[in-house]
């Protein structure tokens, strides 16, 4: 299936080089869950601290993704 992914901060190095900051890129996804996607993209669950699927924040990395889902991931970030 195809999912659309956005990566920020220190995870950006794993996005395609021509991917603009703040834009989705398309991923041909072979797995089922968010944690499978994290593995396929090449980082650890610990690094994907903050995850949004279709605009909603989720902490359940074992939930299944569907074709066309939009997934946004951040490492630990904070400040203020």
């Amino acid at each position: 299936m195809k999912v659309f992914v956005k990566l920020y901060a220190t995870l950006r190095k794993l996005a395609p080089p021509d991917n603009e900051l703040g834009e989705f890129f398309e991923v041909e996804f072979n797995g089922a869950t968010i944690s499978d996607l994290i593995e396929q993209l090449g980082f650890t669950q610990e690094q994907a601290r903050i995850v949004f699927v279709n605009d909603n924040q989720t902490s359940d990395l074992l939930s299944a993704l569907r074709n066309g889902d939009r997934v946004v991931m951040f490492p630990p970030v904070g400040g203020g």
């Binding site: 901060a9 220190t10 703040g22 610990e46 630990p76 970030v77 203020g80």
Partner: protein, 597 residues
């Protein structure tokens, strides 16, 4: 630290006082709030002689503890009418720590008819109140350069700019940065710059030339704690080192600064856009911390050694988190402003619908020069946009408006410098985002309700740093983000408010909290430094609650009641896209935060 310096601006005299026993463990916010509670009449006019301006370095300022050089300033706020503590980095806290000063209390005021301006010089066992009228009426970039010429010992400087000198309520207290290239280390909130102006003080100059590093009572425990804490901070993915073993960006704050939050709040749909209308800004990425990082790399590549842009820049000596930055001009690589933080990028960017990084940084620079709090100024400009006088998204018009702040004859300039409430009411706006008269920062309280509880109930007026529940609601603690719906917001906010009051007193930067909440060895290390320094154990929660008690009592005396612990009406009635929620915390829940105070 063992001394208090008391300066009386009515007769320009001063005296050194031995620290009373009751203040022995109190520094930073604990000290400023205790002195205000004990010595200032809560009903006094904040811009007259009965108010006091209190300065206190955090407990560990000047020691080798990592990221511990923060300064607290306090007084009765002309913006809120309540107690205020504002907090900043810069040089002054460590300088005062070296001078053995637990606090400086400035009271009284010169006669109202005076035309003179003063500066205060503090050295080792030395204090002078000097007439420095030539420091008045000039921009702060020029002022700090002049002062370092007059004082080659590289002193810490805090003070007020043109906005404070004119007693405008949006005036912050500036501080020079470590390199003295920018006056951008702001204890910005609550209009304390105007309190200095009312006492006819432009600058307070701290010279630690003959001072010495403060020593811990229990050196071994302090040293053990310091090492453990530094290790924890260095290894945390948020507060940690610049690069990993492969040379890739590692620590989020060092690489992207606090403005790393711009994109996440945008994705969360909680980024207040165009005057708190929607939670998403289409140009958020362009003014985000990642964009600043890229601009710095780009100008470094192009201008080499001449490039002045920086990330991983420390806001005070000994800060290992180094979340500050220097934003360069794209065309020359020269410094435009330092720092550009999340709240400021939001206040002048997202909040005004302006997605041009240069324009946002330019407004930051103007505020640093004028002596203005950026959150208050950005919200004041938003009131001009709400009223239709200028358009949302019009960067050049916003810059032009802010520049009017320099001109004493400009009524618009005076309004921009007077905060969102004064500007909004004058311009006939009904959507004014303030609590207790202080403008809201960069998290919308409708989708993130815990921070809304903090905005409503903190003694400070709307202030995210007073109880940063975002850490639990968005960012996550110990690797997990708690389901926001499952959190008792009152309890969450109260715990964060008390813990924050403790951190604000230690000299530690509030951002250590991310590491301390995640890593038990970091938490233990932090406690060992504080308790080792004091030579006795203090309880974090009790210490923090005692501060909040003083502050609540002062505000009660000033006339605050439960109705002041509320958000503006429109947050309860206007659904906020994309989640289309309103602020749903009941009055009973809000009142539960301080039920016993």
């Amino acid at each position: 630290m063992s001394k208090i310096l008391r300066i009386n601006m009515s007769d320009l005299g001063h005296k050194w006082e031995t620290l009373p026993k009751k203040y022995e463990t109190l520094a930073g916010r604990a000290f400023t709030s205790a002195v205000i509670h004990n010595e200032v009449d809560p009903t006094c006019h904040p811009l007259r002689e009965k108010n006091k301006f209190i300065i206190s370095p955090g407990l560990l300022a000047g020691t080798m503890a990592p990221s511990s050089g923060r300064l607290s300033v306090g007084g009765k706020s002309p913006l809120t009418g309540g107690i205020k503590e504002a907090n900043a980095g810069g040089l002054t806290a460590t300088r005062l720590g070296y001078l053995g000063l637990q606090g400086v209390i400035i009271e009284g005021a010169p006669p109202v008819e005076t035309k003179d301006w003063y500066s205060i010089y503090i050295g080792k066992d030395k204090c002078e109140v000097k007439k420095t009228s030539d420091y008045a009426g000039i921009g702060l970039y020029e002022l700090i350069g002049k002062i370092w010429k007059d004082y080659p010992s590289k002193p810490g400087i805090i003070g007020c700019g043109i906005a404070g000198q004119r007693l405008h309520k949006g005036a912050g207290v500036f501080g020079n940065n470590v390199e003295n290239t920018d006056p951008g280390r702001y204890a910005g909130r609550g209009g304390l710059g105007a309190v200095l102006g009312s006492k006819r003080i432009i600058a307070i100059i701290s010279d630690a030339s003959d001072g010495s590093r403060p020593e811990a009572k229990d050196k071994d425990r302090f040293e053990k704690g310091r090492k453990a804490f530094k290790k924890a901070l260095d290894n945390h993915a948020l507060t940690g080192r610049l690069n990993n073993e492969k040379g890739e960006p590692y620590g989020a704050l060092k690489n992207y600064g606090t403005n790393v939050l711009q994109n996440i709040l945008n994705e969360a749909g909680a980024l207040p856009t165009r005057g708190f209308r929607t939670g998403r800004f289409e140009d958020a990425a362009k003014i985000s911390g990642e964009a600043v990082h890229d601009l710095i790399d780009k100008t470094r590549k192009r201008f080499g050694d001449k490039a002045e842009g920086k990330y991983g820049h420390a806001c005070h000596p000994g800060c290992v988190i180094a979340c500050s930055n220097v934003v360069p001009y794209e065309k020359t690589g020269k410094a435009q402003v330092s720092p550009l933080e999340y709240e400021t990028a939001w206040a002048f960017g997202t909040n005004l619908g302006i997605g041009v990084l240069h324009d946002v940084a330019e407004m930051n620079r103007i505020c640093n020069d004028l002596g203005l709090d950026t959150i208050e100024a950005g919200n004041a400009i938003a009131m001009f946009m709400e009223s239709g006088l200028i358009d949302f998204g019009d960067g050049p018009a916003a810059i032009e408006l802010l520049m009017k702040g320099y001109h004493p004859e400009s009524a618009k300039g005076a309004l921009v410098c007077s905060g969102a409430l004064t500007a909004g009411e004058t311009l006939g706006v009904s959507r004014i985002p303030v609590v207790k008269g202080q403008a809201l920062p960069a998290y919308d309280p409708r989708p993130i309700r815990g921070i809304g509880v903090t905005y409503a109930t903190t003694t400070m007026g709307a202030d995210h740093t007073a109880g940063y529940t975002i850490a639990a609601e968005i960012v996550g603690i110990k690797g997990t983000v708690t389901d926001p719906k499952a959190i008792d917001k009152a309890e969450l906010s109260r715990t964060f408010q008390a813990t924050t009051a403790y951190i604000d007193s230690t000299g530690y930067c509030l951002f250590i909290a991310f590491c301390v909440l995640d890593d038990d060895s970091g938490f233990g290390g932090m406690l060992d430094t504080v308790n080792g320094f004091l030579g006795k154990d203090i309880d974090v929660g009790e210490y923090g609650m005692a501060i909040l008690k003083n502050e609540r009592a002062f505000n009660k005396g000033a006339g605050f009641t439960a109705k002041d612990d509320r958000l503006p009406e429109f947050f309860y009635t206007e659904p906020f896209p994309p989640h289309n929620v309103v602020f749903e915390v009941s009055d009973e829940e809000l009142d539960a935060v301080y039920k016993d105070m």
